[in-house]
């Protein structure tokens, strides 16, 4: 087949490069979702740690020997 004229060929070349770009961008999007999920989970864990800290502080005031967590 003879070479396509430039205005036609340009579309195909552009399409090919867009495909590569799109794949990378889709990956960025997936990573964004995972990052926000990790952020959310760390926030929850931080809350949990805080609550635990409060629970530990409270019975210490009463200071019973052998107190369980």
């Amino acid at each position: 087949m003879p070479a396509l004229p430039l205005h036609e060929a340009g579309k195909y070349v552009a399409a090919a490069y867009v495909v590569v770009f799109a794949l990378v961008l889709i990956y960025v999007a997936i990573m964004a979702i995972r990052l926000s999920r990790v952020e959310r989970e760390l926030g929850e864990l931080l809350e949990q740690a805080d609550r635990r800290q409060e629970r530990e502080n409270a019975p210490e005031d009463l200071a019973r020997p052998g107190a369980a967590v």
Binding site: M1, A9, Y12, V13, A16, L23, Y27, L45, R52
Partner: protein, 282 residues
């Protein structure tokens, strides 16, 4: 720490890609036969080469996993194959676009590299379903490694076989990298380097993310003091700080394997990450 060096790597990738794209569109001469369409060559072939090398690398990493039984090798093997599969999709799509632009058909059987690639892609597409359908994590890693080794060896064999099968009539256009004039060869090499760096960056990115996820899970377990029910997954999970052989199956699998018939792996004692709350399913 998987994230170390990720910034430098991604910067290098960005820089190389900029140079490569500049070379492709401003430096490399137009090819005589195909004209502007030939520019696709500079993404399609690097995608193919990096993807195939990635598949073979996955096999090598799997050999390491079977030799050392360190779960980190399995994670590396998994990520590398996963990323190669994504690049493989890119190869097939760009190859199809190029075929349409060059010959008017979306698919051609005459191009041995494209056909071989399709076969390799179909094989590796079964990697994740295979992993997902084995519940026991240790067995999953082991079987996946066996698959990765066999499939990695298959890649060059397959290419040789398909190359033999296509006639000598049609000159290879899409994959031919020999007799490239100087400027084109330089552009091609830089594009190849850019693609390889992109691949390495994505792999490192993925491994860091998985590791971080594993750390969050471990932290959760430590804080709440009970084992989290893990869903079935196709991906290996890393327990934070693991450096030796893969840890014993978690209590979840202990329950699951106890329920299965004899022959499944025995429930090893739970790791120290589950304190005295008691093992579910015990």
């Amino acid at each position: 720490m998987y994230g170390r060096g990720l910034r430098a790597l991604s910067l290098a990738t960005a820089a190389t890609w900029t140079v490569a794209l500049g070379l492709v569109f401003f430096y490399a001469p137009l090819e005589a036969d195909q004209g502007f369409v030939q520019k696709i060559f500079y993404v399609h072939v690097p995608l193919a080469i990096v993807s195939l090398c990635g598949f073979v690398l996955g096999g090598v990493l799997a050999i390491q996993h079977l030799r050392t039984r360190d779960a980190r090798w399995d994670l590396r093997s998994y990520v590398v194959i996963h990323m190669s599969l994504i690049l493989g999709v890119g190869t097939l799509i760009t190859g199809s676009i190029w075929a349409k632009a060059s010959w008017g058909h979306w698919w051609v059987w005459d191009e041995p590299t494209l056909v071989s690639f399709l076969i390799v892609f179909l094989l590796y597409a079964t990697y994740q379903p295979l992993r997902f359908s084995i519940e026991d994590p240790e067995r999953q890693s082991r079987y996946a490694s066996v698959f990765a080794i066999a499939a990695g060896a298959f890649v060059p064999l397959n290419f040789a076989a398909v190359r033999m099968s296509t006639g000598y009539v049609h000159p290879r256009v899409l994959g031919d990298t020999s007799n490239l004039p100087g400027p084109m060869a330089l552009t091609f090499l830089v594009s190849l380097l850019a693609m390889a760096l992109l691949y390495a960056t994505l792999c490192k990115y993925e491994m860091t993310a998985k590791h971080a996820r594993g750390q969050v899970r471990a932290l959760r377990r430590k804080l709440s003091g009970e084992a989290q029910a893990q869903g079935r997954s196709a991906a290996p999970t890393l327990h934070s700080g693991s450096s030796g052989p893969s840890p014993a199956p978690s209590p979840r699998t202990a329950g699951a394997t106890a329920a299965r018939s004899a022959g499944a792996s025995s429930a090893a004692p739970a790791t120290s990450s589950t304190p005295a709350v008691g093992r579910p399913g015990a």
